[in-house]
Every structure is written in structure tokens, then in C-alpha cells.
């Protein structure tokens, strides 16, 4: 008998133990805030774990991004001009004087030399987000064909844009209402701050394996 059948048989045979009655309990009431409070809560929570939040206007955020890039002496930036936000960024950079080298993700990570470049010489990446969670200061990022998984992970600086009307109160509210049950992408991410570890003496250190800086541009 194979392992699968054997495990399932064991479980099925003992399933209806008369004296194991699962307890029942209602979900506790979850916090809700108004739009202004949600943005404040989000900002407060993500700032507490070293996330940087910048309020921008719909028309000046690329300028803000460039300013931050220059302050941080970034040499290059990975972006996806095929996306709505990426296109705005690309157009701005074309019309502006700057020293920043703009890079694009090739057709595949396996393309000659790109993986090495991504790992060892790309300074920063810019991606979109599909929203955020106020309670925990969390960005919701769904990697896609234009902005693949590693874009928000491998470069040391991650710029992410967030529309302020897309902030949920809690993760539970999001799952209740966003229809994710109908189908999830191959990878979906919640990102709450830059990467960190406290594995040595419970002392917090940022920039473990992922980005050491997470810069959120709120529009």
C-alpha cells in the first residue's frame, strides 16, 4: 500500500471520534477606521519597522522618487515600463536630466548574465502594489509578468507605489471581501517593511536577505 493511501486510511478510520467535538467560536470584532485614519495607521505601523512613507501627488511622485534616489546615491533602477505606473516613471525620466540608469527585466531571469547583475549590481527596483493593510502597515504585492517575484526582493532598495484609496483595515477584511478565493496568482505577497532579523541576541538588524530599504510612495 502506498504512503498516501496508508496515511489517509489511518485518518479516515479514526475521524469520527465521538468525543472530539470541535469548539465553536465567532470571529472577534475587528477594528475599522476611516480613510484618513487608515492611512495614518498604515504609515505609523510600517514606519515602526523602518519602512519609509512619502505622501506624494499623482503628478509629482516620479520627481520624489528621483530625489530619494539621488540622496541615496543610487546608480541604477529596475523598472517595468509596460505597467501603468512604470510607463509614467519612464516618461518622466525621459523628459528629465538625471544620472540614474534605468534598467528593465529581460524576458526571463535565465537570460545570459541577468541573474548575476540582479544579484550583485542592481541598486534598486520600482514596483506597483495592489493595496495595503492599515492594521499592520502592510503592502500587498502581486508579482506579475512585468514585475516578477525577484524585483521586490533582490535589489537592496525597493520603491513601491500605493494608492491611498486602496487601504484595507485588516488582513481578515481583505480576505473576506477581495475575492482571492476565486483564484490567487502563482505568488502573492504581503510586505511589511524592509527585511530584518533578530537572530543574534534578539537585536534587530535590517537588510537581512531582502531589501534593506523599503520606500513607499503614497498617491
Amino acid at each position: 500500500m502506498n504512503a498516501r493511501q496508508s496515511i489517509l486510511d489511518k485518518l479516515y478510520q479514526t475521524r469520527d471520534l465521538a468525543d472530539f467535538i470541535p469548539t465553536k467560536a465567532e470571529a472577534p470584532k475587528l477594528p475599522t477606521w476611516n480613510d484618513q485614519q487608515k492611512l495614518e495607521k498604515f504609515t505609523q505601523m510600517i514606519s515602526a519597522v523602518n519602512g519609509e512613507v512619502h505622501s506624494c501627488e499623482k503628478n509629482n511622485w516620479p520627481h520624489k522618487l528621483l530625489e530619494i534616489a539621488q540622496q541615496n546615491k543610487l546608480g541604477n533602477l529596475l523598472h517595468a515600463p509596460q505597467t501603468e505606473w512604470g510607463a509614467v516613471l519612464a516618461a518622466y525620466f525621459q523628459a528629465t536630466e538625471h544620472q540614474l540608469e534605468l534598467l528593465e527585466y529581460p524576458q526571463s531571469i535565465d537570460e545570459e548574465g541577468f541573474k548575476e547583475k540582479l544579484f550583485f549590481s542592481i541598486d534598486a527596483a520600482f514596483t506597483g502594489s495592489i493595496g495595503a493593510i492599515a492594521e499592520t502597515g502592510t503592502l500587498i504585492v502581486w508579482p506579475n509578468q512585468h514585475e516578477p517575484r525577484l524585483m521586490s526582493l533582490v535589489p537592496p532598495v525597493h520603491f513601491c507605489i500605493l494608492e491611498k484609496e486602496k487601504i484595507w483595515n485588516t488582513f481578515a477584511e481583505l480576505i473576506e471581501n477581495a475575492g482571492w478565493q476565486k483564484g490567487l496568482p502563482n505568488n502573492a505577497l504581503l510586505i511589511s517593511g524592509p527585511s530584518k532579523t533578530a537572530d543574534i541576541e534578539q537585536t534587530l538588524a535590517y537588510g537581512a536577505h531582502g531589501p534593506s530599504q523599503l520606500i513607499v510612495l503614497v498617491v
Partner: protein, 504 residues
């Protein structure tokens, strides 16, 4: 604090954990005499307790959430086999391959088989306690495949050729100086520093090369969602994402109990998991994997495999009381609050899962013969049960395991759970003593007689056996001259004498 004896657990990354019977007392004794180890643990546990407390300012809200989480876990466990089948079919539909393993050995064989298919030479590992449980690194090393741990704590422990001493923070038993010395010894081109940021940056540099080169990535799983066919991974560092996104093949390995029915079951459990574990409102990353690299995707693994492990879990499942053991979401709060764990540390238990949860789960994985000391390695203070986010009644499960350990095994008792190693702790003399005890206590006259004798001749109690052990560091207990009953009678006689028959 003096550090006369350096505490080095007798294990190495390339050897199986030597399980010597009845050595818990010696291990605990050695650990208790290691001042540095105790300082490291005390400081760490105090910090974790304070952080958790700060996350739950409203005790009513916490209780409501715990009840809700317990209900979720119990509902999912009650449907476990159906949920596993549903999970499997949804994962398959998403392009994820599912494997089943009854034993640790089988799980290792499966993972090695996948590596062989891809001629893998190196494996990078996210954090997985189940991979520790099956001794995967050892198995792969014997077959020429290098496994490198990428969680900073696991990486430190692997460099030191030790085992994790905590399920959430593997290197919690070490301080910065110990890590600094270790890095200086083991990492080329690294000069000595005690600066934690610099140490972490060194780890980042070294591991980045490994992520880049790895042929295969291995991870654990925190929640598996049957409804959508999704694997959820909880982490702060990004090594979990690196291990699951970068190599061309991703293998996830986890226990069969980790499945939940609905996506909506995840947020309430995740909410409690991070707050209970490290006092964080959320971890940096919550990584939800529902498929390998799609046709139009530019990165991600081309293959994703899931290995579902039983290894004694179905034995715990078969018993209504012990099934609650499987509610665990591996937050580690029980060990952080345990007075025994915080004094002896994780290595003294000689099990992969230390502390209270380890004491109730290891007997199912290893059998009671090899875990004889665990059910009684507890003061039954109840702290673990009080802080458990899914309300596992750990103290009563420990009592139950004590019964299983000491029971007389009879093959024709239909009520008896078929627990591996049941009766391993049976001792005829002890059983006889308790028989006599219950015979005396079940009769008023015999009890009176015994207490009269004890109050007269108790001082003569010989200093042997358990009494000798007890009195090694304490005064020998001496029964009082009068029993409580006698004292109470005396008082009521005095009272009625004073009150002259009034009813007050």
C-alpha cells in the same frame, strides 16, 4: 557569571542526534551549571515574554481570538483527511506536485529523488523544523548533496555544528560574542567584530552567493490552504522568499496537520502566530505560493513540490485528547514562558522540538521508550497552556502521557490507544506502591491510621530512594505532630467552648 564548563551539545550537523535513554537529568544538570547559557536564555525569554505581553493589551480580545483560533484548528483537524485530499487536488490543478511520506526516511528519499532528477549538487534551505525532524541535511550529505541553511539563526547553528535550540530562534542560546568568534573561525575574509549589523551583513554576503548558485530550494510551510491550493510561508529575513523564488526547483516539506480549510482561516491564525512568537504585529513577509513559474512569467521555480509528512502525527490524531497536540501553529510561546525550558535551554531535551510542545509531540514521533523523561520534565505550572494561542491543554496532555508511559500494556484492551512505546516506563515496585496508597486512601479508617502513624513516626522516614534525591538540596520533609483534621477538631472544640453553645 563563571563559565567553567563550556556547553557544547554532543551533536553535529553531520551526525544523528544521539538519543541515550534516561539522560534528560544529566543534560538538564549540565545545562543548569552553564552560567553563560542560562544568562543567554533568561535574557532572551524575558525579552520575548515582555514583547508578547505588549501585543495583547486587551485580555478579553485575546481570549476571544484564542477561542476563535482553537475553533478553526479543531474544525480543520476534524476534517483532516478530506482537507488533505482537497488540498492535493487543488495543488495539482495549480501545477504543484504532491508527495506523501509516512516516515522521516521516506520523506528524505522523496526529496533526494527530486534532487537526483535535476542532478542537483547544492540545496539552499529556508527555515524548516520538519527538515530537522527528518534529519534531511545528514541524509543529503551522505549522498553528496550540500545543504546550506539560509535563515540567519539556522546558518549560525549549522556553522557551529549544532542543532537549533528554539523552533523560532534557532541560535537563541548564543550571544553576540560567541557568534563573533564563530564567524571569525569559519568564514573566510571576515575579520572579527561584535557589531551585530556587521555580522548580519557578512551572513547576507555569504548567503547571497549560495542563493544565486543553488540548484534546489527547500522550505517549510506555515499554513496550507485547501480551498485555493496555496502554501503560506511566514518570515522576516527574505531567505524564505529567496529559497522559494530563486532556484529552479522548490521543495516544501511539512506535517499533515498544517492544512486549513478556507483562506479566511489564515488571518486569525497569522494574527496570533506572530504576536505570540516574537511580539510582532506581523512579519516582514507573508509569502503565498499557489503555483510554479507560469508560461508568461519571468522568474520563479519551474517546479514546486510539496512533501506531506506523517511521522507519528496520525497516532496523535487517533486519540480524541491527544489530537489537540496537532492544533499547534509552532509559535514557540509555550517554550518562551516555560520555567523549565528557560533554565535548561533547548538542547537538553535531545529532541528536535524542545520545551512544552516538544514534550507532547516528540513521544508520537520517537515513541515513548526514547522520550521516557519528557512527560515528567515539567512542573505542571500551566504557563504553556495559558499562553498557547490555540489553547492546547499541554499540562493535561503531559499527565495523559504519564499515564500512557506507566500503563500496563495489554493487547486485548480495545480502549487502549496504540501508542508507540506505551508502558515503557512501567515499574512494578512503583505500581505496587501506588496500589497500596490508593488502598489506604480509599478507606477512612486506614487513612486515619496512616496519618496517626505518620505524625508519630514520620521522623524515622529513611533517607533512601526519592527521599534521598529530594533532601540532597533541601531539608528532609517531616510530618507535623498533628494532622490538619486533628487541628481543626481542636479549633472547633475551643470555639464551641468559648461561645458557650451559641451558634456563632
Amino acid at each position: 557569571m563563571s563559565n567553567s564548563q563550556k556547553y557544547t551539545p554532543n551533536t553535529s550537523a553531520t551526525s544523528h542526534i544521539p538519543v541515550r535513554q534516561n539522560d534528560f537529568n544529566h543534560q538538564a544538570h549540565d545545562a543548569l551549571n552553564d552560567g553563560q547559557l542560562r544568562t543567554n536564555f533568561r535574557r532572551a525569554m524575558d525579552g520575548l515574554i515582555a514583547k508578547r505581553t505588549a501585543q495583547f493589551p486587551d485580555s478579553d480580545d485575546l481570549e476571544a481570538r484564542r477561542l476563535h483560533a482553537e475553533a478553526i484548528r479543531q474544525r480543520c483537524l476534524n476534517k483532516l483527511p478530506q482537507l488533505l485530499e482537497q488540498l492535493e487536488s487543488n495543488l495539482k490543478a495549480n501545477g504543484i506536485k504532491v508527495h506523501w511520506a509516512e516516515t522521516a526516511e521516506q520523506a528524505c528519499e522523496i526529496i533526494y529523488g527530486i534532487s537526483e532528477c535535476h542532478q542537483a549538487k547544492s540545496m539552499i534551505k529556508g527555515k524548516s523544523m520538519v527538515s530537522e525532524e527528518i534529519e534531511l541535511n545528514h541524509f543529503m550529505a551522505e549522498r553528496g548533496i550540500d545543504c546550506l541553511e539560509s535563515d540567519m539563526g539556522e546558518y549560525i547553528v549549522q556553522l557551529a555544528e549544532e542543532k537549533p535550540s528554539h523552533i523560532i530562534m534557532p541560535a537563541i542560546h548564543k550571544n553576540a560574542v560567541e557568534v563573533a568568534k564563530l564567524f571569525e573561525d569559519k568564514i573566510p575574509d571576515h575579520s572579527y567584530t561584535e557589531d551585530i549589523d556587521e555580522l548580519i551583513q557578512t551572513g547576507r554576503r555569504e548567503l547571497r552567493k549560495a542563493f544565486f548558485n543553488a540548484d534546489i530550494g527547500l522550505s517549510g510551510v506555515n499554513f496550507m490552504v485547501a480551498e485555493t491550493g496555496t502554501l503560506c510561508l511566514v518570515e522576516n529575513e527574505g531567505n524564505g522568499r529567496m529559497s522559494t523564488h530563486v532556484p529552479p526547483v522548490h521543495v516544501a516539506v511539512t506535517g499533515i496537520e498544517k492544512v486549513v480549510e478556507f483562506l479566511s482561516d489564515v488571518p486569525p491564525l497569522y494574527h496570533l502566530l506572530t504576536r505570540s512568537a516574537t511580539g510582532q504585529p506581523i512579519t516582514t513577509y507573508f509569502n503565498m505560493i499557489s503555483g510554479p513559474r507560469g508560461e508568461n512569467e519571468k522568474d520563479g521555480p519551474k517546479e514546486v513540490h510539496l512533501v506531506l509528512l506523517d511521522n507519528g502525527r496520525s497516532q496523535a490524531y487517533a486519540d480524541a485528547q491527544m489530537r489537540k497536540t496537532l492544533q499547534c501553529i509552532r509559535c514557540g510561546a509555550c517554550m518562551n514562558h516555560c520555567p523549565v525550558y528557560s533554565r535548561i535551554g533547548g538542547h537538553a531535551y535531545k529532541t528536535v522540538y524542545p520545551g512544552p510542545i516538544g514534550k507532547i509531540i516528540s513521544p508520537h514521533m520517537m515513541g515513548l521508550e526514547q522520550t521516557k523523561d519528557l512527560p515528567s520534565a515539567s512542573t505542571l505550572c500551566g504557563a504553556c497552556g495559558d499562553v498557547c494561542p490555540v489553547k492546547i491543554p499541554i499540562p493535561s496532555l503531559l499527565q495523559r502521557l504519564r499515564i500512557e508511559l506507566k500503563r500496563v500494556v495489554s493487547s486485548n484492551d480495545p480502549q487502549q490507544v496504540n501508542m508507540k512505546g506505551a508502558g515503557a516506563g512501567y515499574n512494578a515496585i512503583e505500581a505496587r506502591v501506588w496500589k497500596i496508597f490508593s488502598w489506604i486512601y480509599s478507606s477512612r479508617y486506614r487513612y486515619k491510621m496512616l496519618s496517626w502513624m505518620a505524625s508519630r513516626f514520620g521522623k524515622l522516614l529513611p533517607n533512601i530512594g526519592p527521599v534521598a534525591v529530594w533532601s540532597k538540596v533541601r531539608s528532609k520533609p517531616v510530618p507535623a505532630n498533628k494532622t490538619l483534621h486533628q487541628l481543626m477538631e481542636q479549633r472547633s472544640r475551643q470555639a464551641s467552648g468559648q461561645s458557650n453553645g451559641s451558634d456563632k
